[in-house]
Amino acid sequence: MTLAHDFPVWAAILVAFFVLGGSAITLVGSLGLLRLGTFYARTHAPTLGATMGMGTILCGSALYFSVLETRPVVHEVLIAVFITLTTPVTLMLLARAALYRDRAEGSPDVPAAERMEEAPQRPESAENRSEHEEPAR
């Protein structure tokens, strides 16, 4: 624990506010992972931590190091940019994979594929595969 003794109070209050607010928002998002009922509803929960929770905690970190080293420390921007660009990509891929699996199983809860080439072509499980009688290659 090497916190500076002469750290200004106004900055300490701001850092505490940012860090506590961000972690509280992240906790709410992760609670959503437990409370929401279906998979597609649950995909909305992690974005809370990945947008505002991440943003406020990184703000707090940048402010703390800038005041501590008395020079602007802004390399936290890099983490923010990476997370902002990557989290939507992973969530989209994951939701599309789940949609594909649900359609392959014929689940009534998801909208059906509108065009033939979107519809799942390849059966997933071994039982399905034996029904379709793929020709041996």
């Binding site: 624990m1 090497t2 916190l3 500076a4 003794h5 750290f7 200004p8 109070v9 900055a11 300490a12 209050i13 850092v15 505490a16 860090v19 506590l20 961000g22 972690s23 509280a24 992240t26 906790l27 998002g29 992760s30 609670l31 992972l33 437990l34 998979f39 649950r42 995909t43 929960a45 992690p46 931590g49 990945a50 929770g53 991440m54 905690i57 990184l58 707090g60 970190s61 703390y64 190091f65 420390v73 390399h75 936290e76 890099l78 983490i79 990476f82 997370i83 990557t86 989290t87 990509v89 992973t90 969530l91 891929l93 994951l94 599309r96 994979a97 789940a98 594909y100 699996r101 997933e124």
Partner: protein
Amino acid sequence: MSEFLLTWSLVLAQILLGLAMCCATFRLVTGPRAQDRILGLDTLYVNAMLMVVTFGIRSGSSLYFEAALVISLLGFVATVALAKFLMRGEVIE
């Protein structure tokens, strides 16, 4: 005054983030389906990254920044590979 405030707010923030990681781990362990587990893993790595950032503030060393950067990049690659696996049943086609 400021040392007291920072110490306790960081401890409290780490407790909150630890609870958030517990929620994500619960979803990772219980499922019910594979996509729920991967969603739990995705949340877990973002929460772990934020936890590392708070550790960095606590210790006053900016070395933790690199660790957080690596966690965020590796977590992205892992989740993409797992989602691809769910979609096709194989990672490298």
